[in-house]
Symmetry: C4
Subunit: 314 residues, 4 copies
Amino acid sequence: MAPRSPRTPLNDDLGLGLQAGPNRGVNKDGTFNVRRVGLPRFRPYEFYHHLITMGWVPFLSLLFLAFLGTNALFALLYLGIGMDHFVRAGGGSLQDRLLDAFFFSAQTLTTVGYGHISPKGPLASAAAALESLLGLLSFALATGLLYGRFSRPQACLRFSSRAVVAPYQQIEGFMFRLVNMRSNQLIEVEATVSLSFQDLASNTRRFMLLPLERSKIHLFPSSWTVVHPIDETSPLLGMTEADLRRAKAEFIVLIKAFDDTFSQTIYARTSYTAEEVHWGTRFKPMHAVGPDGVTELDVRDLDEVAGPEAADRA
Amino acid sequence: MAPRSPRTPLNDDLGLGLQAGPNRGVNKDGTFNVRRVGLPRFRPYEFYHHLITMGWVPFLSLLFLAFLGTNALFALLYLGIGMDHFVRAGGGSLQDRLLDAFFFSAQTLTTVGYGHISPKGPLASAAAALESLLGLLSFALATGLLYGRFSRPQACLRFSSRAVVAPYQQIEGFMFRLVNMRSNQLIEVEATVSLSFQDLASNTRRFMLLPLERSKIHLFPSSWTVVHPIDETSPLLGMTEADLRRAKAEFIVLIKAFDDTFSQTIYARTSYTAEEVHWGTRFKPMHAVGPDGVTELDVRDLDEVAGPEAADRA
Amino acid sequence: MAPRSPRTPLNDDLGLGLQAGPNRGVNKDGTFNVRRVGLPRFRPYEFYHHLITMGWVPFLSLLFLAFLGTNALFALLYLGIGMDHFVRAGGGSLQDRLLDAFFFSAQTLTTVGYGHISPKGPLASAAAALESLLGLLSFALATGLLYGRFSRPQACLRFSSRAVVAPYQQIEGFMFRLVNMRSNQLIEVEATVSLSFQDLASNTRRFMLLPLERSKIHLFPSSWTVVHPIDETSPLLGMTEADLRRAKAEFIVLIKAFDDTFSQTIYARTSYTAEEVHWGTRFKPMHAVGPDGVTELDVRDLDEVAGPEAADRA
Amino acid sequence: MAPRSPRTPLNDDLGLGLQAGPNRGVNKDGTFNVRRVGLPRFRPYEFYHHLITMGWVPFLSLLFLAFLGTNALFALLYLGIGMDHFVRAGGGSLQDRLLDAFFFSAQTLTTVGYGHISPKGPLASAAAALESLLGLLSFALATGLLYGRFSRPQACLRFSSRAVVAPYQQIEGFMFRLVNMRSNQLIEVEATVSLSFQDLASNTRRFMLLPLERSKIHLFPSSWTVVHPIDETSPLLGMTEADLRRAKAEFIVLIKAFDDTFSQTIYARTSYTAEEVHWGTRFKPMHAVGPDGVTELDVRDLDEVAGPEAADRA
């Protein structure tokens, strides 16, 4: 039995192409599984994005190389002007002059300016003034990026690696859960769960929002089990595990929250394919009361389920 | 046949003057086609706005000129104090003294401070201290602006250059589409489409919101075709291409989205005049499945339409 | 006739004390006319607020005085250590040593560090190292505040100085209008208008929200006339100018908008007392079509009204 | 009589674990009373959070220690290279060389660079260039953090230390009140109040939202008394003080507001246990009209109640 197609006009959609391929639309880490082609080769509007999102090792390497490169360029400029335009104690060999030019450049770019080498005459002075101006501006960008990367608001929500179809009140429910791994206080947390599946008749993918038991919680101190009740309005009613797999079903999850510590709205995404949904099992509680009466949440239990016998009660 | 005027009180409006002229109200790039006159000549509250939105070439030129100008001013101040208040090796000609004063100023403003020229006595020292203070504060503004420009949240949505009136389910629909040219992950994307037209009877412009098939999508990994269904509630029902042109119709588009990468809400705007709406054609799909099974979106196909024969099916 | 009191439970309120005094609750510039007393004398959590909102002249004066004061303190410290712990060319008189200490301090605090005076021995070096560290940290605060002030999002909406009660469709309406004096593009502009009046029977002030013709506009390129229709649901129905004045009526306006240029939500507030509401007049249009066909908005016409004869048509 | 359990599916929840312990779920200061265990020992994603939220004394101490430590490390590096690679006037004893190395490092890290000690030869110059680069980058982080801490948006709402059950219109109401201790203008203030209680039959905790007289106020110039009317829909109807204590009831409060001064959304939280709810008393007004006719709010009266006789009128 195929999932029932949406008959009523949907006011919400995933925005995934309806001709989407056979693979999952959203990866486990929340990134989209769509490749954009035909983009222009040179995209200056992407610089900031790449500089903020690239890894720390490439970023710091790039910074270091830019520092070396700029110093090398200005060193060549100073050599071209002639090191006799500088007050310096260094020797006259090319290597000595090159090193002096390079380190004078570094001392100018960083505005440390010891002064044991210093420009003499207008040409060298002008080049040095230009370099110190450039140094201030480019270090402004570099340090802005550094701090921007460091302080970028990022959710650190961990989702259970699998969803379950488990007894829920008198019926069954599709459930997954999440915890906040950070100390940030998250509030006003909202969940949106969409089901994407292959309509085997028309061979296109369809999308629909799944109604949730609760779509928003005001405080999020511990864990949240998001539940889609499989009632008479659910497209999952009457479906089996095999039906879901045949339709290549995918449950796409979008979480929105307000990070109270940094006054920022954050989002997190993930998805569950039919293979990642376990039937006839339920999540084990993650809470316990500690010896001092304080409620404890053990984040290691996020994926713990209780085995098929628990589902027998359904 | 003229578009039907709104009879029910609208709770939404474009905010464009109802006496708006014969030209388009919103330009292709989303700016408003309204000229404000009578503004005061000196508007200090606009400085920041202009410094952030001006082009990069004027901005950097302005920065460079401000650097030169400040140095020139302080050089004159130092000359006025007298270069004999400075420890320096330079000659005594006016040009020598001027150059020394200028480059001492540059070394002070940037706080590079080599020290081969240094102030001697209270007057020169006080002027130099003042300049280094000024330098720190003004470079704070300059570099703040530089980074603010660099990191300013900006949508890079590209809209199809033309809208189409094409078959949609059993009826027709007004459609356009858009893609995200950036790598930023956009979510919770909302569209608002308004129709503005000349009421030929009263010779005023009227505005109304057009209901959309979907006004919001939760994820936006690829492209989105925004559809206004021309059903019995649509003001476009029964209208022809010539009717629209006669009424100087304009479709004004406002897109709102959340940029997940930078935790910022962004907006994009555009408009379609009657001349930019094509009838009897439909958009070609932009998606394909790549050789590795991954869905591919070719952004070069954004404007591709399928020709009139496609509309025959409607 | 007194305004009708709200009988239905309000879900919205102004939050002004219901025992509010006889004066206006909100000043023309949007600040609240309430004095808070009993606050603790020392409120460190207010520092940032005051530093951001104080005038430019006090702020820059404070910055300059802090610079002078810190230098004076460190100059005394250096004198205490003894100027013989410094390499310097200056004379031995107290004044010479004080000036050298002061300017050495300035050169250290700003990190300009010419080096013609430099610390000798551990005590002076340690004090100088401490000062340069302090300088970097305190200039970080100072320049952060400077840029924070400069870039603080602020609406520059101008409201008509008076509201009018003018013909609106077949009935009358309470109206005021506003323009954006900045080049910032404002979108999704929302208005909330509340009526506050003295209930003469119970001698308390009452508050109620006034329904608006349009409470939100999507684009705001020119001017917006906010209208409360005086229909059968309006508390103003049947009231005269004298009734409003007797009840010390006050119309409190809250505008919310999204500044597209800086991706910031901004608010503006104002209020109209009964004395500031003109009856039997209407606003003159602010729009005209320029010689080149472009719509022009003359912001100088914001307060222009058309005289009582216009109201006769109502 | 136990509070009535929610029978209708709730769309809102506190997100507190339903197995929550016997203690209060939310502390007086709004932090969650839940302990997370099993977290990884090394959590780099928490660095920023800790650096922003730790106290000022630990933060500044950490900064100072990092400054000392970095200088000590580079001093050792310079000693390793050999102080004969530096131009300096200092003596040859190890202590002299160590101090010179240390203070040269400090002058390089802060980019003050007096130059009375300066690197000679490529090795020392390269190490110094590296240190000045590192100094610029790490001071960028340090000063960014410093300003980030200073400017972090924080509500300074003070809640009445106790809630009351007092006469409200013809019935009773659960009430508490709050004032803004800051000069920041808060607008669009929203309150959410949840009741958590022990279901004595099932021995689990239950949560439900309490409907409020007003859940949102547009302006917040003075104080706000939040009221939950105990009408026929209230779970508190018919309950006594003893009932609430037996069920270990807790009222959890979440306040959301927009800080108009800094264009930031802020939140505040608190909770009232059954012991902190006073029955048969009511809040005294905090407002008075000053001698100049201006409304005055005395924040010292926040906790003032009127005694049991006031409740007799109910």
